[in-house]
């Protein structure tokens, strides 16, 4: 089995997020780490490798220093690492990123692609499903458990208050939650090997079946008006209506209050 894990190097938001005066992230002021959801996805892939002897390739798009995240993945047990880096790919939003990664993935053989649900620096949760769309393969997002049974994956897809068990034929893409597992540590020997290992570097020319108009800043339809630190979701409101009519009336009232209808 061949598994490709898409990872991203992100600023560590544990100590809070720091912004430049122009509202963009001050990446230099924060430590760079492997995105937690991606790390859980990598761990899931490594567990499948332990179980079935899969080959695990990690891929990332980013600046040359994103190779650090790839080396960490190698030191945890990944077999191969690919860095997609090119000036023309800079400033990419989720659309341009997924287009780029799909262009890179078209060069690879895979049964399963795992991405994190979302990166802690953007919180969009769009790149994984978009990659699947570009490649024309099924996607199961928000995985809290991943099993492989024959040529299928069986995934527990998490919702706020429940989970669904969803099956898909491989090849397919799964987006992983950090709750999926506790990622393993690197090993000292793994680190030494990872630092000696060659990381394959691809640029624009190596991307298959992509158009320039969908890449980098120019290919990014998203315009950022303002960035802010993550706002905690409220606990929500629970009501116990007396009847279905009351419940409907309440919900319609809330929709009107928020100008949804």
């Amino acid at each position: 089995m061949k598994i490709v894990v898409c990872i991203k190097q992100v600023p560590d938001t544990k100590g809070g997020v720091k912004f430049n005066p122009d509202g963009t992230l001050d990446r230099g002021a924060m430590l760079a780490i492997m995105n937690p959801d991606d790390k859980a996805g990598l761990e899931a892939a490594l567990r499948l490798k332990d179980q079935f002897g899969a080959e695990v390739t990690v891929i990332t798009m980013g600046l040359p220093k994103a190779a650090d995240a790839l080396r960490e993945a190698l030191a945890m047990g990944a077999d191969k690492a690919i860095l997609v880096t090119d000036r023309v790919l800079g400033g990419a939003d989720t659309w341009a990123t997924s287009t780029t990664l799909a262009g890179a993935l078209r060069n690879l053989e895979y049964d399963l692609i795992i991405t994190g649900r979302q990166a802690i620096d953007g919180d969009t949760a769009q790149v994984g499903p978009q990659i699947a769309e570009h490649l024309g393969i099924p996607v199961i997002s928000y995985a809290q458990a991943i099993k492989v049974e024959g040529d299928k994956v069986v995934v527990e897809r998490l919702y706020d208050d429940r989970y669904h068990v969803v099956e898909a034929q491989m090849p397919c893409l799964v987006t992983a939650l950090s709750e999926l597992n506790q990622p393993r540590y690197m090993t000292p020997g793994g680190i030494f090997d990872a630092c000696a290992a060659e990381i394959t570097t691809w640029g624009r020319a190596d991307l298959k079946d992509v158009e320039d108009c969908n890449l980098g800043l120019k290919g990014s339809p998203t315009k950022i008006a303002k960035a802010s630190d993550k706002v905690r979701k409220g606990a929500g409101e629970k009501i116990v209506p007396d009847s279905t009519e009351d419940a409907v009336a309440y919900v319609i009232g809330k929709f009107k209050e928020k100008h949804i209808i």
């Binding site: 080396r71 960490e72 030191a75 393993r184 540590y185 690197m186 090993t187 000292p188 020997g189 793994g190 680190i191 030494f192 990872a194 630092c195």
Partner: protein, 388 residues
């Protein structure tokens, strides 16, 4: 001269730091309080290869260098001196002599289990009447057919009852040296469970209280002839050379304890308020911290230099790292004692309370001035090299 750590050493430090903070620190107080060997931590360290860091891959190790091993002991000791010495004694005092002096059969038999942490190692040199004076050894080994018969005892043995493989130093006869009769000393590999090998009482210690410190007792303990380590009569040289390496581990442990106390104190003085100000705002505190940090940094340079020197030795056995190791241990141990004492002082009354980590760190620091050669022995080693 380049003081920058390589990428792999930076990554290794990050690994050890994260492991220590997540897996070791939460247990440190309990392990000390209950004088409990942290078996669960050792199992985790084994899983991630920490028990065989400088061991070549062909023997099941991680294939890393001594500097990486020293950084591991350092980071573990920052949060728990007990955990640091478990790795140090196992690696430097048991694996290292087998790797250096063992036959190929001995290496194949013992190293893979030790490097993977399936088995734990220990080293028995000290006796009730023979510490610094290794010639005072009373434990005897007599060859009887195809077996060596050991009689005697060893005391203060780190990893004592938890270990599976022991390097034991014993007298095998008398030889004439420079016109005087001296004891002929040899080294042996002894396995736990060998009939005639038992344990005395557990030592109740001031610090590193989770470390398993026991007396080893040999009563007509028969071991196979092939368990002689190195040549007969080379035991003293093996023990001294082993301790040279061990001192790098203990120096790293001392360095870690000092760093842990410094970091804890830096956080504390910014929180603790007196006279309406954080005590870190007072110049006395600032100057104390400056002295502590400077000495810790100097200790680090000596420890890393000694580790580097041993790495050079591995590719060129003519190189000696004995003096560097002695200097690193002497200085780092004394810095650990000084820095932890100041850390307790800066914590005031709270520093004397067992709930606060610096109290444990000060007790843990003391042993680094004593074991694997006291500070006085380190001074003997260093000065002997100056005056030779």
């Amino acid at each position: 001269m380049d003081f920058t750590l390589s990428k792999q050493h930076e990554m290794a430090r990050q690994l050890f730091k994260e492991f220590a903070e997540t897996e070791v620190k939460p247990l440190a107080q309990e392990v000390d309080e209950e004088e409990r060997f942290p078996k669960e931590t050792v199992e985790k360290m084994a899983k991630y290869g920490f028990m065989g860091i400088p061991v070549p891959k062909e023997y099941g190790g991680q294939g890393c260098d001594i500097l990486t091993y020293a950084m591991c002991v350092e980071e573990l000791s920052k949060v728990c001196g007990t955990t640091g010495v478990i790795v140090s004694a196992h690696t430097s005092l048991c694996i290292d002599p087998i790797l250096t002096y063992g036959t190929e059969d001995q290496k194949k038999k013992y190293i893979p289990d030790l490097a993977s942490g399936r088995k734990i190692g220990a080293f028995g040199l000290t006796e009730p009447g023979a510490g610094t004076d290794a010639q005072g050894q009373q434990t005897k080994a007599v060859l009887d057919g195809d077996e060596w018969v050991l009689n005697g005892s060893k005391c203060f043995i780190t990893n004592g009852k938890e270990a599976d493989v022991y390097i034991v130093i014993a007298v095998t006869g008398k030889i004439e040296k420079r016109g005087r009769m001296q004891k002929e000393i040899s080294a042996f590999i002894v396995e736990k469970g060998t009939p005639g090998f038992s344990f005395g009482t557990k030592e109740k210690k001031m610090g590193i209280r989770g470390s398993s410190t026991y007396e080893l007792i040999f009563t007509d303990c028969r071991i196979p002839k092939e368990n002689l380590l190195g040549a007969k009569g080379k035991g003293f040289a093996i023990a001294m050379h082993t301790l040279d390496g061990g001192r790098i581990g203990i120096a790293a442990q001392a360095l870690g304890i000092a760093e842990g106390a410094l970091e804890t104190t830096i956080a504390y003085v910014q929180e603790r308020k007196q006279f309406g100000r954080a005590i870190g705002a007072f110049q006395n505190t600032q100057f104390q911290l400056a002295d502590m940090a400077t000495k810790v940094e100097a200790a680090k340079m000596l420890v890393y230099k000694a580790a580097r020197k041993k790495d050079e030795y591995k590719s060129n056995p003519k190189i000696s790292y004995s003096v560097e190791a002695a200097m690193a241990k002497l200085y780092a141990a004394e810095v650990a004692m000084e820095v932890t004492t100041k850390a307790v002082q800066l914590h005031g009354g709270y520093g004397y309370i067992r709930e606060y980590d610096v109290e444990r760190m000060m007790r843990d620091a003391k042993i680094t001035e004593i074991y694997e050669g006291t500070s006085e022995v380190q001074r003997m080693v260093i000065s002997a090299n100056l005056l030779k």
